[in-house]
Structures are given as structure tokens and as C-alpha cells.
């Protein structure tokens, strides 16, 4: 399992459009991804789960990827979250 903690870069946090793009990236990867903010962990393939975390700009979240290609997927998802998709 690969894991990383980082700050979310999107100006409006992980809402709506960036959240949908993020979930799409997760499902396309075919890996099992868990997203954690504070005490709460959710299945990152769930858009309802992702938006219910209420992730704002600058919040620290932890990505955990399980699967054959965990490291590459983690890099891809980490790069996604470190980009401002509202810019």
C-alpha cells in the first residue's frame, strides 16, 4: 500500500467539478483508493463520500492506494490534488 499526505490546491477546495474529475481519475485507475481528512476516511471512488468530507483549499488529506500499480496511481492522484482546478 502506498500513502501520502498533502494540501489540496484548488481555490474552492474539492467541490463539484474538481471532485468529479478526481473521482473519475480514481475509478479509471482501477485501484482501491482511500481518502482521509481528519478522523474520517472514505472510498475515493465515491463522489458523495468525497464531497461529504467538505475539503477546502489548503486542507491536509491523506491518500492511500492499494493495488498492483499503487505507486504510479498515488503519484497521479497527488499531482491532481496539488493542482488548482478552479484557476
Amino acid at each position: 500500500m502506498a500513502e501520502r499526505t498533502l494540501a489540496v490546491a484548488s481555490a474552492n477546495g474539492l467541490h463539484a467539478r474538481p471532485a468529479a474529475l478526481f473521482v473519475k481519475t480514481v475509478t479509471d485507475s482501477g485501484q482501491t483508493v482511500t481518502l482521509t481528512k481528519g478522523e474520517r476516511s472514505i472510498n475515493a471512488a465515491s463522489i458523495l463520500g468525497v464531497v461529504s468530507l467538505g475539503i477546502e483549499h489548503g486542507d491536509h488529506v491523506t491518500l492511500a492506494v492499494d493495488g498492483d500499480n499503487a505507486d504510479a496511481t498515488l503519484d497521479e492522484l497527488a499531482a491532481f490534488l496539488s493542482t488548482d482546478h478552479d484557476a
Binding site: 474552492n12 467541490h15 463539484a16 467539478r17 468529479a20 473521482v23 473519475k24 472514505i42 472510498n43 471512488a45 465515491s46 463522489i47 458523495l48 463520500g49 464531497v51 461529504s52 467538505g54
Partner: protein
């Protein structure tokens, strides 16, 4: 079909006519009740999974047809239907004995409540989940798919009322006209129709009986929907529309009555883009520049310099003309983090508008400074006004602080009944007043303007509203203070004539309505407008006022 159905009455928006086949928007799907399932949990689970995946597939297919931002919105809805967390929740509920319908409804509802509790942008999106749930439930029950129907040929859309979400997917090119059974002249449908220039009749309750495919003649001018009209009626209506279009295109220049009495026609704008559009449509200035649009979503007020840049761009569109800027109107349906108190039980009656600015005076002073800076660098005649003023003291407070900031013309909005009732005391404390008819109507009737179930009370034709406007008009004339109207009322051409008769000196509206209002004003003298105003204020109801004034029009092209 019975004889009673031949002519259906409602409230017309605009002046157009349209003929075509009816396409009905399916009625909303009722919420399922929680009754024990008669099927096995495996069967219910299979039904639920099939309904959710079919719903997702349909949403994606619609998105592909629509393209652009609509595709993105629909794609996000499809993802919600296929959501694994939702599927887990649905499975749990079915295992506990729920039907597929109820499990989907309840699971979506619980996610919806989570989103709604988060407020802000996500709270607003909570309704999307209800939409997805209703689509899946309609799928399970074999009902037509909710939402705007698709049709390859142009049609007349008959609906209860359109929700904001419906209008996102509405293909305006295929809609000849809109007819709604619910909702009044300030409903979402009416506002959309006005903005886009679509012929519409709203609040036509008898239209609920119209069948799919029936041919109807929609006549917005007269507020009627005629079933199976004959060729002669259609020709007559089309001729009248052509005549009106000719009058409209022939009328240009400043707004004036038939006797030459000037009534400047101004625009309501909220952004640099809408200011540009308004200038192109011949607005003689801006009667309402809503500044809160520039602040929405901001955590703190933009700096004085940032504000001044935006103001300058708007002022540049109107050299030598008047631009009335409304200072921040935060609260109620447009909360701002840095001005609005959290947790008010009745935000429409809370610390909003000028009340919030008084509590955060630096925000007001900064905005006035930015406005004064931008005004000094422009050729526009900049004036400011305060929203939600309730007393003469508040009016005096605002005028003093605006004058201190070197803005020489400072007025107040009249939208709280107390300010209208004491107009003779409030008006002298202002350099001008502007009547906000939407909020004034909401507060006169104690009826939330955003709530569909009380929309029938949200009608600015009501004499209860017109009488207050009349007393403000009188106070304005007695004190030599200009009285403007900003709000949907000024966009209704015949009501605009009545408002001038009640003492309005300028009218401000969405710029698409200016041509229609200008054409109507040109057909009436001031005496005539005052006569029609007297008829309207004497009527017992909004409907009676509208009817009586329509019948008393000296020049009625329909007769």
C-alpha cells in the same frame, strides 16, 4: 375536450404569441412510502441496481446530446447515481426490508442532508441528489423520466413550474413558448422567459388539463392559452405580434410618454458583461447595479483597489449617463461570510442590507471609497443607494456617510413597508428613492418570494403594493425627490404605465424588457397613465387590477 378548456387564462410574460403542439413536462414523482417489501431482498437489490445504472446511462446520454457545461452537470449527476457509498447504503436498507424505491429515496436523502448541512455551494447542490433519486424511482415505477422532455420538433412546454435545474437543460431553440400552471410573475420561469425573450403564460392553472400533442395558441399579451385555435385566430394573433414588433423596432431613443413626458429607461445590471449588454440595448443608464454579485463566495471583502477596478469598467459603459450603485445587499438568499450573521432563524427579516453594513461600517466605508475613486476617473454620473432601509434615521445615516465619502447623490431603496408607510418622513432624508418591488411585495404579504407554495401572493399588480407605491410617489413629488422603480414590476409594460401614473420618474429593469416598455409608454399620455393608476389602486385584487387596466387601455390592439 370540454368547452371550458377552449380559453385558459394566466399571466402573460412579454408580448409575443406562439402556436404549436403541447409537450407536457411530467409531474414531479411522489416520494415513496416506507412499506415492507413483498419481494425477496435479492430481487429488490437487482431492481435498485438496474434502476440506478439505467438512470446513470440516461443522464450520460442526455449530457452527450447537450454538450458543454450541461454535459458536465449531467455527468456529475450520473456519478451520483453510480456512487459506491450510495450503493452500500441502499443494500443495507434493502437487507432491512425496504423496497428498492424507498431504499434509494432514503439513502439519497441521508447524503442530501449531509450536503445541506455543509451549506454554501454544496448545500445548493443538495437538490441534485433529490433529482437523481426521483429519476431512479420513476425508472422503477415505469413513469416518464422527470425533467424537460426531449423533442426533435419545436413545441410549447407545459409544466407546473420550472426549477433552476430544468432550465440548465432546456434547449431554447426547440421551445416555442412556456406555459406553467403554478408560479406567478416573479417565478423562476417568468424570470427566465423575460431574460431570454421567450413567450410565456404563467400561473395558468387550467393548463393542467392540456393533453400532449394538442395545438395551442399562446398569447402573452392577453395572458391566454387557446386550445385548437382556428386558422383565422392564428393569423390574427400573428398579425398582432408583427404589428407590435414593428412598433417596438420603430421606437428608439429615450423613454417618453405620448405627450413627451420623459421617463428614463434604465437597466438592472450585476456585472461588466450585463452592463455592456444593457448599453447595447439602448438603456439610458443603470438604475440598479447589484454589487454583491462581485463579492459572492468571497471570504473577505475585496480590497478598495480591486473593487474600484470593477466599478470603473461598469461606469465606462455609460459615459455622461446615470449609474445607480446599490451598496452591498448581503443576507437572506445571498449571504456573505464577512457580513452575514450565522444561524438567523429568519434571514429575510434578519440583519441584512444596510443593517449588516451599519454593523460592519468599515466594509461600507471601503465600498464608498472605491466607488468615489472609480467615479472620479469616469464620465458616468454615479449615485449610490442603500438596500433594506426601514426608517428615516437609517436614510439620514446613509446619506451622511455617502456625502462624507464625496458621493454627492445618495438615495435609499424602498422595499420595507415601514419606509413606504412613512414615506413623507423617509423621502426628505434621501437624494432619491428607488422602489424594489420584489422585496416590497414579499414583505407586504409576509410571503417568501422564493417559496413556490406562496407564489400566488407575489404579484406586484396587487393594490396593497400599488397603494404603498402611490404614497411614495406622492412624497417624492411633494419634496422634489426622484422616485425610481427597480424590480420585475417595471419590466411589465402595462404595469410600467401604471407605475408612472403613481409617480415613478424613472424605470429600471432587465435590459431585454426595455424595448417593450418603451413602445408601451409611447402610447399613453401622463393623464392617461394617472387614470389607469387610479383604476389599478381601486381594484380589490391583483387579478382584478390587471384585468381592469387591460380593459381600460385606450389603444388595445387585440380588440
Amino acid at each position: 375536450m370540454g368547452a371550458t378548456l377552449e380559453l385558459i387564462r394566466g399571466v402573460g410574460i412579454g408580448r409575443g404569441t406562439a402556436v404549436g403542439p403541447v409537450v407536457r413536462m411530467p409531474d414531479p414523482v411522489a416520494d415513496p412510502v416506507d412499506r415492507p417489501s413483498t419481494l425477496t431482498p435479492d430481487d429488490e437489490r437487482a431492481r435498485a441496481e438496474e434502476a440506478l445504472s439505467a438512470t446513470a446511462a440516461r443522464l450520460r446520454a442526455r449530457g452527450q446530446v447537450a454538450g458543454g457545461t450541461a454535459a458536465e452537470v449531467l455527468d456529475a449527476l450520473a456519478m451520483m447515481a453510480e456512487d459506491p457509498s450510495l450503493a452500500d447504503d441502499v443494500r443495507t436498507r434493502i437487507a432491512d426490508g425496504a423496497t428498492a424505491e424507498y431504499a434509494i429515496h432514503a439513502a439519497m436523502r441521508s447524503f442530501r442532508d449531509v450536503l445541506a448541512a455543509m451549506g454554501g455551494y454544496l448545500g445548493e447542490r443538495a437538490g441534485d441528489l433529490d433529482d437523481v433519486a426521483r429519476r431512479a424511482i420513476a425508472q422503477l415505477q415505469g413513469l416518464p423520466e422527470p425533467g424537460v422532455p426531449q423533442s426533435s420538433t419545436p413545441f410549447i412546454l407545459v409544466a407546473r413550474d420550472l426549477a433552476p435545474a430544468d432550465t440548465a437543460t432546456l434547449d431554447l431553440d426547440s421551445v416555442l413558448a412556456l406555459v406553467t400552471t403554478d408560479g406567478g410573475p416573479t417565478s423562476h420561469t417568468a424570470i427566465l422567459a423575460r431574460e431570454k425573450g421567450i413567450t410565456a403564460v404563467v400561473g395558468a392553472s387550467a393548463a393542467a388539463e392540456l393533453a400532449d400533442g394538442a395545438t395551442v395558441l399562446v398569447d402573452a399579451e392577453n395572458g391566454t392559452v387557446e386550445v385548437n385555435p382556428d386558422a383565422e385566430r392564428i393569423a390574427l394573433a400573428q398579425q398582432r405580434t408583427a404589428t407590435l414588433a414593428a412598433i417596438r423596432s420603430a421606437s428608439s431613443g429615450p423613454g417618453r410618454l405620448a405627450d413627451g413626458h420623459a421617463v428614463p429607461l434604465l437597466a438592472n445590471v450585476g456585472s461588466v458583461d450585463s452592463a455592456r449588454e444593457a448599453a447595447a440595448r439602448g438603456a439610458e443608464g443603470v438604475g440598479l447595479f447589484r454589487t454583491e454579485v462581485l463579492f459572492l463566495g468571497a471570504e473577505k471583502a475585496p480590497s478598495v483597489d480591486e473593487q474600484a477596478d470593477t466599478y470603473r469598467a461598469v461606469f465606462a459603459e455609460f459615459p455622461g449617463q446615470k449609474v445607480v450603485v446599490r451598496v452591498l445587499d448581503a443576507g437572506a438568499d445571498k449571504p456573505l461570510a464577512f457580513l452575514t450573521d450565522q444561524g438567523e432563524e429568519n434571514p429575510a427579516l434578519g440583519r441584512r442590507g444596510l443593517r449588516a453594513l451599519q454593523a460592519h461600517e468599515q466594509v461600507l466605508r471601503d465600498q464608498l471609497t472605491a466607488l468615489a475613486t472609480a467615479a472620479a476617473a469616469s464620465d458616468a454620473e454615479v449615485q449610490v443607494m442603500a438596500p433594506m432601509v426601514s426608517t428615516a434615521e437609517e436614510a439620514a445615516y446613509f446619506r451622511a456617510i455617502a456625502h462624507e465619502s464625496s458621493i454627492s447623490t445618495a438615495g435609499v431603496m424602498v422595499e420595507v413597508p415601514s419606509a413606504a408607510i412613512l414615506a413623507d418622513h423617509v423621502v426628505p432624508e434621501a437624494d432619491f428613492v428607488s422602489i424594489g418591488t420584489n422585496d416590497l411585495t414579499q414583505y407586504v404579504f409576509a410571503a417568501d418570494r422564493l417559496l413556490g407554495t406562496v407564489a400566488h401572493l407575489q404579484d406586484p399588480w396587487h393594490p396593497a403594493v400599488l397603494r404603498l407605491i402611490e404614497s411614495v410617489g406622492r412624497a417624492g413629488a411633494a419634496n422634489g425627490v426622484p422616485v425610481g422603480i427597480c424590480g420585475e414590476a417595471a419590466a411589465d409594460p402595462l404595469l410600467a404605465v401604471v407605475l408612472v401614473g403613481l409617480g415613478a420618474t424613472t424605470l429600471s429593469m432587465s435590459s431585454t424588457s426595455i424595448a417593450d416598455v418603451r413602445a408601451e409608454l409611447a402610447q399613453h399620455t401622463l393623464d392617461d397613465a394617472q387614470r389607469l393608476a387610479a383604476i389599478a389602486v381601486a381594484a380589490p385584487s391583483a387579478e382584478a387590477a390587471r384585468r381592469a387596466v387591460t380593459d381600460a387601455r385606450p389603444l388595445n390592439p387585440s380588440s
